[in-house]
């Protein structure tokens, strides 16, 4: 038993199915603070660990709406208010001509909020994370699947949880120090 505070217990699985089943059982057992790690998105895994609220669509919608309204208002303000320019006698507020730029700015803002929203909600960039202390964890980006039950979970108990993870078929269970 080390004296360093513990981040959690990490169990390794061979394939996505085992990981998904283990995550479900852990959730049924009452564990909430946990996460699965896989080299590609495993369908249903996020739901299995109790992650329901994916706010990405909302972020992108808000970004897109801001871009849309902002893009149109910018053109209206510039062409009709700040710098009215008579071009071939067309109205200053020539709304059909403003469609294109409005659309482009909408897509631009929605796209930027998709990437930066994803990074922000995921807490990235994150230069340090305790999981990287575990040597085997580098295979999470190759061909191994991991489940980590975190020490901050109220039901967490080093011995209990280790036994529980072993019972799920996880091997190479290791303690993750902070």
């Amino acid at each position: 038993m080390s004296l360093v505070p513990l981040y959690g217990l990490l169990a390794e699985f061979d394939n996505p199915t085992d990981l998904l089943l283990a995550a479900r059982k852990a959730h049924d057992e009452g564990y909430r603070k946990m996460d699965g790690y896989s080299p590609f998105p495993v369908e249903g895994l996020a739901e299995a660990i109790g992650f329901e609220r994916d706010r990405m669509p909302l972020v992108v919608l808000v970004g897109g709406l801001l871009g849309c309204v902002g893009g149109y208002l910018m053109q209206w303000w510039i062409s009709a208010d700040s710098y009215p320019l008579n071009v071939g006698g067309r109205p200053y507020h020539s709304w059909p001509a403003f469609f294109v730029v409005t659309f482009e700015v909408t897509v631009l803002c929605a796209g930027l909020s998709a990437l930066f929203g994803m990074l922000g909600l995921n807490g990235l960039p994150m230069p340090y994370h305790p999981l990287f202390h575990v040597p085997r964890f580098e295979f999470a980006s190759r061909d191994r699947f991991f489940l980590c039950i975190e020490a901050s979970d109220p039901r967490f108990d080093v011995l209990e949880t280790r036994r529980f993870l072993e019972g799920l078929g996880g091997h190479g269970i290791s303690e993750v120090p902070y």
């Binding site: 199915t17 699965g36 580098e138």
Partner: protein, 443 residues
């Protein structure tokens, strides 16, 4: 994908190209050659900055010349990359997973080359930032009724969104490279770019949503970009430009030339890097079929243009089409029809469609043909319009050629460097294609 692969073999095979494969003499020679052309580009551009656009063959009436031809051509090439990465993703065409990464890189580099031309063509290229609406002491703003301003927004948005999409796709693969790298510097650099990605289920969930949303945004965007480019022409009243068929016909032409460039890149890459397992004959054949289909749409455009001119009864439009075939540039038009419409029809033959060599040859033909199409649209339409007194001829100078060929060198330089420093095939998306990736329980 060829059978017999596992998560580990896919990962190791693709990451080893970047991490452990020694730099080969062929690659170095290739880089040397295209770097030479990049220097020629820099030289031509420097001379342009010093002397002005007069070094090009542009003059009244042909004010647009090669610069706009090349711009349209390069933007068009980019379109196939977005089509593969975004539209085929939404359509669940999973075969696209092994070609999307380098096709997206192709888009980025092609759009970078494209963006160069309108800027160089400005006359005072160093003032290009005036095109953007920013508060300035002159108190002037861009004129938003002009398609040329729309173009600034369309192309810069397209470049940005392509970059975001490409970078997002790279994040998990950068994490893979970080974990595989033995070299300390490589590990640090990839680790920096991967931003601490650890493949968490929550992260993947948001990642996946963001990826699909970006694809959904990129799909109308890619169709809009060449549409807006075609507005540069159609909003003008020049005979041969002022036509409603331009937007769809430009987009089809863009995808046509884009897939030709995908094949030009994919065929040597899979051969030299031994990636036949991932970029299979099926990918090449599908690309060939898309080329054939979009080529037919382009051919339909060629038929409809003179038909509409005749049907509309406008004598200037009709003269424009007579001039294309019989005027001083008749040989350009002949080359266009044979290279874009006649020769690609051999793709109907299955044997040729499944031969990398012939696909390469036909793609080369299509790329040149599509470039000629833009010459016909820009140069031939402009050289004779309404008044005979304002007719003229356009002759490209050596600086026109240096700038054009220089961007090709620059494009391939970027591609060659990309192949060596980033995974050219999306590793995590290939893992998803394996049967082992399937979860065998009820959701």
């Amino acid at each position: 994908m060829a059978p017999g692969h596992t998560f580990a073999t896919i990962t190791d095979k693709i990451s080893s190209i970047v991490l452990t494969r020694p730099v080969s003499l062929g690659w170095l020679m290739g880089v040397g050659f295209v770097a030479l052309w990049t220097f020629i580009l820099l030289f031509a551009v420097s001379y342009l900055f010093y002397q002005g656009v007069g070094i090009w063959g542009v003059n009244v009436p042909v004010g647009w010349g090669f610069a706009i031809t090349n711009f349209v051509w390069w933007v068009g090439i980019g379109h196939a990359g977005t089509l593969i990465s975004a539209i085929l993703l939404l359509l669940r065409q999973s075969w696209r997973n092994s070609i999307n990464r380098f096709a997206e890189a192709m888009t980025l580099f092609a759009v970078a080359c494209a963006g160069l031309f309108p800027i160089l063509h400005l006359g005072r290229p160093w003032l290009a930032y005036w095109l953007f609406p920013y508060p300035n002491t002159m108190n002037v703003w861009p004129q938003f009724r002009s398609p040329l301003v729309w173009d600034v927004f369309a192309v810069s948005t397209y470049f940005t969104i392509s970059l975001l999409f490409w970078f997002q796709g790279l994040i998990p693969d950068l994490a893979t490279l970080r974990d595989r790298a033995v070299n300390r510097y490589a590990r640090t650099i990839y680790g920096f770019m991967a931003m601490g990605w650890r493949g968490s289920a929550r992260h993947w969930k948001r990642y996946h949503t963001a990826y699909l949303l970006l694809a959904g945004l990129a799909t109308p965007l890619v169709l809009s970009v060449h549409t807006v480019v075609s507005f540069d022409f159609t909003i003008a009243i020049v005979p041969g430009w002022h036509s409603t068929i331009f937007p769809p016909y430009f987009v089809a032409g863009a995808i046509y030339s884009g897939f030709a460039m995908v094949l030009i890149l994919a065929i040597p890459i899979r051969y030299f890097y031994g990636l036949e397992d991932f970029v299979t004959m099926r990918h090449l054949e599908n690309s060939g079929m898309i080329m054939l289909a979009t080529g037919l749409i382009v051919a339909y455009g060629y038929i409809m243009e003179p038909f509409m001119a005749w049907f509309g009864g406008n004598k200037y439009d009709m003269y424009q089409f007579w001039d294309r075939a019989h005027g001083p540039y008749w040989w350009v038009f002949l080359a266009l029809i044979s290279m874009n419409v006649v020769i690609p029809q051999v793709l109907w033959i299955g044997k040729l469609r499944r031969s990398p060599f012939w696909l390469f040859v036909i793609s080369l033909d299509v790329l040149i043909g599509m470039w000629i199409e833009r010459v016909v649209i820009v140069v031939v339409s402009l050289h004779r319009d309404f008044l005979t007194s304002s007719w003229g001829m356009y002759y490209p100078t050596k600086w026109d050629w240096f700038t054009f060929l220089g961007t090709i060198g620059f494009f391939f330089l970027c591609m060659l460097l990309f192949l060596r420093v980033l995974p050219m095939i999306s590793i995590f998306e290939l893992r998803e294609l394996l049967p082992e990736a399937e979860v065998k329980v009820e959701p």
